[in-house]
Subunit: 246 residues, 2 copies
C-alpha cells in the first residue's frame, strides 16, 4: 500500500463550529447567571447548571434526528431544545421562582455568549483572506444575535437549521459547501471538537483543530483526539490565521 | 366600513432586496464589460447587453418554479440561470470569441456588483439599531462574494436558495421571518421594486420603498407603483435610517 496522496486542493472558504470554538458558553452562562441570582440573593451553582444544560444538548438533538428519520416530527430549533432542557433543570437548581419572562430571557443566554479573547481579532484576520461562515447547530437567529452581541464579523451565517439536520449529519457539511459554491475539499471546518471534525472529514472537508482548554472550565477535560489527524492544529484563531497565511 | 387599523407592531429586523436596491447591477456590468472589450479593441453595446441579460431573469426563474411545481426539476441557482441567458446573448453581441474562462468570469460579474453610493453608510447606520439581512433571488455564494466586494455589512445572508423558491413566492418572505425569529409583521422588507413589496405585503411583512431612479439607466423608467401603499418611502438608505430612527 502506498501512503495516501496529500490533498493539494486550495482552501477557498472556512466554516466554524461556534459553541466552545468561537464563544465561551460555560463562562458566559456562569457570569450572566451569577449576576441574575446575586441580585435576588439566591445561591445557585451556575457552573453545574451550565454543564447540565450542555449535557442535555446531544441527546435532545439525537431525539430530533430519530423522530425525523421515522417521519414523526418536523424540525425543532435549538432554542426550543434548550428551553426543554432548562425546564427540567429549574427545580434541581431551585430556580422555580423565576417568572416566565425571566425563564425566557435566561433561555436566550445562548444568544449572548461572549467570544474567546482571540476570536474577533483572529476572525477579522482570516476574513481578509477567506470567506468565513458559522456552521453551528445553533439556529440562525441565535447566531445572528450572538454575532451582534460579540462583534463576530461573519460573511455568512450557516446553521443546521438551513438543512434541517444537526451535525454530525453529512448533509450539514456538504450543504455548507454547496451554499458557499465550493467543493467539499475546498472547505475548511474549524472546531475545538474532534468528533465534529471527524464528521467533517467523512463528508470530504478539510479540518483545523483549535484547542480550547478552558471550554469545560479550569478542571474540565477536552474531548479526546488521540489517533485523529487534522490538516491544521492551532492554539487559537490568531495562530490559525498565521498558519493559513492570513 | 371602518378604515384599516394601523399596524403598531414594532419592526424587529430588516431584509433587503439586492439587485437594484442595494447594488447598481446595470452600471456595474457596463463598467466591467467596457473594460473587458476595450482591452480587446472590440465595440460592444454593454448597456443593451445588461438590459437583455436582466430581461431574461424573470422568465428563467418562472421556468424553474413551474418545473418545480410539476415535479420535473431540482432547484437551479441564479448563477446557472445567468449562465444560460448569457450563452444565448453572446452571438447577438458578437462576444463569441470569449474563451470559456472569460465567459465564466463574465457570468460571475453579478458577484462583483458595486453598491449605490449611499448603501454602505445607510446599512451601517441601520445595522446599529436593527439586524439587517439580504433577501434576494441571488444564490448564497453570489451574495457573500458581493458583500465582500462592496463591504456590505450584513448580519445574515438570506437567499431564495435557502427556501428553494424564488421571490415573489410567499415561502421566501415567511421563511426569512422564521429564520430571523420574528413574526412576519415584525419584519420590514426594503426594495426599489413595488412588485417585490406587494408580495412581501401579501406574506404579512411591513414594507419600505426606496427610490432608485437610475437602476435602469439615465433614461430608464422605474416600475410603476401607482395605487400601492408602503409603510415607509425613502429616497435612499440614509433617508430610510433617519425615518426609522436609526
Amino acid at each position: 500500500m502506498s501512503p495516501p496522496t496529500p490533498d493539494r486542493s486550495p482552501v477557498r472558504a472556512l466554516v466554524f463550529d461556534v459553541f466552545g470554538t468561537v464563544v465561551d458558553w460555560r463562562g458566559s452562562i456562569i457570569r450572566e447567571g451569577e449576576a441574575l441570582t446575586a441580585e435576588k440573593g439566591w445561591r445557585v451553582d451556575w457552573a453545574a447548571l451550565a454543564d447540565a444544560w450542555r449535557a442535555g444538548y446531544q441527546p435532545a438533538m439525537q431525539r430530533v434526528m430519530q423522530a425525523k428519520a421515522s417521519g414523526e416530527a418536523a424540525w425543532v430549533k435549538l432554542d426550543e431544545l434548550h428551553r426543554g432542557i432548562l425546564h427540567t433543570l429549574l427545580p434541581r437548581f431551585r430556580l422555580d421562582d423565576l417568572s416566565p419572562a425571566e425563564r425566557e430571557h435566561l433561555n436566550l443566554v445562548w444568544h449572548r455568549l461572549d467570544p474567546w479573547p482571540d476570536s474577533v481579532a483572529g476572525l477579522t484576520r482570516l476574513k481578509a483572506r477567506y470567506p468565513i461562515a458559522t456552521l453551528s447547530n445553533g439556529n440562525v437567529s441565535l447566531l445572528v444575535d450572538m454575532a451582534r452581541h460579540g462583534g463576530l464579523p461573519w460573511d455568512c451565517v450557516l446553521s443546521a437549521e438551513l438543512f434541517r439536520a444537526y451535525k454530525p449529519s453529512p448533509a450539514v457539511y456538504r450543504g455548507a459547501a454547496d451554499l458557499l459554491g465550493v467543493a467539499p475539499n475546498e472547505l475548511l471546518m474549524v472546531a475545538a471538537h474532534p468528533s465534529d471534525l471527524a464528521a467533517a472529514q467523512r463528508a470530504g472537508l478539510k479540518t483545523a483543530y483549535v484547542e480550547r482548554p478552558l471550554e469545560r472550565g479550569p478542571g474540565g477535560a477536552p474531548e479526546n483526539s488521540a489517533g485523529q489527524r487534522f490538516d491544521w492544529v492551532a492554539s487559537d484563531f490568531i495562530d490559525l490565521a498565521a498558519k493559513l497565511g492570513a
